[in-house]
Assembly symmetry: C2
Homo-oligomer: 217 residues x 2
DNA sequence: TAGATTGTTAATCGATTAACAATC
DNA sequence: TAGATTGTTAATCGATTAACAATC
């Protein structure tokens, strides 16, 4: 009995943490189950999409007339999203953004454990930031190997991002979480996820201006 | 002669700042024009997609055998992305992430001018952060109206994001740049763009684990 | 039972890719 | 001229939506 390969699109994957957040809120309010029409109303997704999304990550079926158990959904989502499995990460680049990420309180609860922070600025080495002391880049490989870190969080300036990415891959990183506003080329088998503020702003700006110009007519 | 309505998908809009970054790099290196095969090689997009993307934002056609002028492309992209037009914004929530955003040096060059920062913590009012002094929420509406700010950047905790969003809309915001990990419900005509780290991490994690398990086989 | 909600199968929609004539 | 690259039109692919029988 082979597991049927389910393909998850990027959009779909992005929706799951949003479901989880909602389900936790509803559960805290005392609700015990939830239906796709309710979710649709709360999040603005279509009912069909919600049903497909939840079917894909839940082993148990929903129940007509009642919907799905919030407790079970939360459980399924936490497992699916890997929140119950620790993934070790290093953070490279301890500027303002790096500092904010080191202080972000929720990564641990998402299973992401940042084991160390790195910078190439000698003045910063040894300083503490977000509870971690900053190490020199020379120690990257040793640390990643010792800790078994799979993820490198890149909060470095764009012009060094490619080079830093290569060091991280050389040190054993299989996933790069790239906050620099540049494309990073990687070999087969390495995953890159970009958080690009310029891209996000482009979407906001264009959509907002379209909406405004429509309003004017 | 009516402008033919071009619809830009979210993915497409997100690509433009990445093109721009690349074109600026190539231009600085002395290159004067660029072809879609070269861009495809650099960024990993398909040639066809690149041609469609650039056609959509450039008034002038490319030239067979030579490609497109980098100078013109950079110009077209800066205009299209609104980098030549100032948009005023306020930032709400001056935690670590808010601080990092206030210190982000590139927003001005993207046409986004943060005119003020707000927080509801009395201890923070009056402090300075990223060159701005922190104002109390009571002054939000007055400030946004006086400055004509269209965008509110929300770097507040998730549990207050909806409420803060409503205040911002009430104060005249037409676009919300939401860094809180929750869905925000808004009336017609208001644009929300989410930067959701939990969503981004979900994509990274799932893709990385898929790639790793494929490798094992 | 009646009705709300489920899961599945088919239809639609939109974005990406392929094919190819036009042209510098 | 030959060949690389363009822009356009058609085909494919994938995701979302619609329709509807199943069921608690």
């Amino acid at each position: 009995m082979k597991n049927q390969e389910i393909v998850f699109s990027k959009n779909q994957l992005q929706r799951y943490p949003i479901y989880l957040k909602l389900f936790r809120q509803l559960y805290e309010k005392g609700q015990i189950s939830v239906s796709s029409p309710q979710i649709a109303k709360e999040l603005g997704y279509s009912q069909e999409q919600i049903r497909k999304d939840l079917q894909a990550i839940s082993g148990t079926p929903g129940r007509p007339k009642r919907g799905r158990s919030l407790e079970r959904l939360i459980d399924d989502l936490e497992v699916f999203l890997g929140y119950r499995t620790e993934t070790k990460a290093v953070l490279i680049g301890t500027g303002h953004l790096g500092g904010a990420l080191l202080n972000y309180p929720n990564f641990e609860s998402m299973g992401l454990h940042i084991v160390a922070a790195f910078d190439n600025d000698p003045a910063k080495i040894g300083e503490r930031l977000g509870g971690k002391s900053i190490l020199p880049m020379e120690e990257l490989k040793g640390t990643m190997e010792k800790e078994g870190a799979l993820v490198a969080i890149l909060s470095v300036p764009g012009h060094v991002a490619q080079e830093v990415a290569e060091s991280a891959i050389e040190a054993g990183a299989k996933g790069l979480w790239n906050f620099a506003p540049v494309h990073i080329a990687v070999p087969e088998g390495i995953t890159v996820e970009n958080v690009n503020l310029a891209s996000s702003l482009a979407v906001l700006n264009h959509r907002m201006l379209s909406a405004l110009s429509k309003e004017e007519q």
